[in-house]
């Protein structure tokens, strides 16, 4: 989070995390495509020759003024492939909230769990416990035949009932906006809480 008093801006960082090919980059592409150019940056993607995320994707949104304050949202994705563990850790640094993008395909549940555990481990490395930290889960690819049930997915990653979960088909932009809205609301609630605690 970065606060600029003079310009009355607050910038927060949200990271889309999850297993490889789960739809993290697709989320950012859809957001980019559905927000007008004067309210977002260009989408930056550091990709391999095979069009897979190498380091991160980046997109900044500028929200309209709220109470004289301009919130900015920086969206990042992590590379999902197993070999990029160190890069994922770096991208998580300074995150104010995380969207975990899970894959609905039955044969990807192990990867969902591994990615979830990796994320909690990296956050813990930065002194962040999941309890009280803004996390929203998006279960993507709901249109695929044989998609796992939401309850099974929740059990697979041992997701508690308080963490919101959105079903999505990111390729069709279903659930993308709802997920973004939910994480931003949680980030802002925590921001207010932190600021109040800091002022006390």
């Amino acid at each position: 989070m970065y606060i600029n008093y003079t310009r009355r801006e607050i910038t927060v960082k949200v990271v889309y995390y999850g297993p490889a090919l789960g739809g993290k980059t697709t989320n950012l592409i859809q957001i980019h495509d559905h927000v007008s150019g004067n309210q977002r940056s260009e989408l930056i993607s550091l990709k391999t020759a095979e069009d897979r995320t190498l380091f991160f994707d980046f997109l900044e949104l500028q929200l309209g003024k709220i109470g004289g304050l301009t919130p900015r949202v920086q969206l990042y994705t992590v590379p999902g492939q197993a070999r990029y563990e160190a890069s994922r850790r770096l991208v998580l640094r300074g995150a104010d909230g995380v969207v975990f993008v899970g894959d609905s395909q039955p044969d990807r549940q192990k990867e969902n769990l591994e990615s979830w555990l990796g994320m909690t481990q990296h956050l813990a490395g930065y002194g962040i416990e999941l309890q009280g930290f803004p996390v929203v889960v998006q279960l993507n690819k709901r249109d695929l035949p044989g998609a796992v049930g939401v309850d099974l997915f929740r059990r697979t990653i041992n997701l508690n009932g308080d963490t919101p979960l959105f079903e999505a088909v990111a390729l069709d932009c279903r659930g993308v906006r709802e997920t973004l809205r939910a994480i931003m609301e949680r980030v802002v609630v925590r921001l207010k809480r932190e600021i109040s605690a800091s002022a006390a």
Binding site: M1, T6, H34, E42, F56, L63, V91, R186, I195
Partner: protein
Amino acid sequence: MVDHGDVASGLSLSPLQEKALEAVLVQLAAKSSAALVLLSTRTGHYISSRGTRHDVDTAGLASLVAADLAASQYITDMVDATESHTMILREGERHTTLIAEAGPSLVLLVVASREVPLGWIRMLVQGASQRMAEITRPAPGRAMPAPAAMVPGGEFADLVGQAIDDLWTE
């Protein structure tokens, strides 16, 4: 005047600190004849920039500069070559690019013509980095009030949610 503050995570700068950082940037840009001098937080939030280039996506560039520094520091840690002060140098055909840490919270990018002596730029960047680190260093023992008054109360979260909806075009 709001005193300089910080919250549990992240960085907030008082107008006084921002003014002081701007002054360092202006001086650095002038002395180095830089095409671009850009200041970012270590987590990639753009703060400010100076120079003759105005066609740059500063938000995107800030994220890349911070990532570049973080990756370089990770690399040196992994090979047990940890540095006390990280400075990344790239010598292009027409420009020299320097990325340097400026204290624990900031990253500085300088893009200058190859005609400007490298030693001169390094010296300027080192000096500017040190001054920026001093400007953003919390004073020991001093309470760090946060900008509580700046953040709208009540239904701020709902308003932000509404603002996300308002961004959306079908």
